[in-house]
Symmetry: C2
Subunit: 146 residues, 2 copies
Amino acid sequence: MFMRIDHVAIACHDLEEKIALFERIFELTVVAREINEEQGVKEAMLHVVDGDGGGSYIQLLEPLSPDTPVGKFLAKRGEGVHHVAFGVPDVTEAMGEIGGRGVRLLDEKPRHGSMGSSIAFLHPKDVGGMLTELVQARPTDQGHNH
Amino acid sequence: MFMRIDHVAIACHDLEEKIALFERIFELTVVAREINEEQGVKEAMLHVVDGDGGGSYIQLLEPLSPDTPVGKFLAKRGEGVHHVAFGVPDVTEAMGEIGGRGVRLLDEKPRHGSMGSSIAFLHPKDVGGMLTELVQARPTDQGHNH
């Protein structure tokens, strides 16, 4: 079912500051920046590695305002891991399979994720307390990431 | 520097219950179980994928007692992501490089990690609030994981 750990997402107060930090201490490179109004975040993807199942990234998330999900997360927990995303071949199929096993889906249908992906979130309480995202890469990227 | 996202570690109250959950909902398989007295945890590695840079896993951690680091984490935050680990070719070298950039190391020298690996932790406050582990796989596993 899972083809890769797609990304680990970190909530932060200042995206540019954290990009500079991660580039400097871990020698990572930003491969995409995006503003996702729907999710209320400004984000960057830092490339870790490519594999047969697609790429792995660190995602940095800065909330667009305090009353967004990531803004509320920061106010409550401070900076740190916000969610973890796993690559799947087909997000709709994976939602059906995992949902059919009693895991609550936070999305009724896939929505727009980073770099043209289709994504859906699972309820953290049904998955060991980890906010979990399923990611289907943009079709043209499937299997051509390295 | 980073060859892979080695694992995402989840702190839990009941290891066997969570293993059964993750096997059932995500079709994952346990490839190693271990008791690490030094770190005060009972743990399991669930295999996600192999790549040129080594394997990626979900690690489940149950504290051996409430007064261990993971026991205290659970009491304070509840179940969820405890740390994230990145694979490096040489953990001592990576500690030197990252430490030289002003990141505090929680370990003075590498210690024993899962499946015969050598590991070291970085101070979360210096790394965006994410407790971060560096992992050098057991020598015989390097590049032979798939």
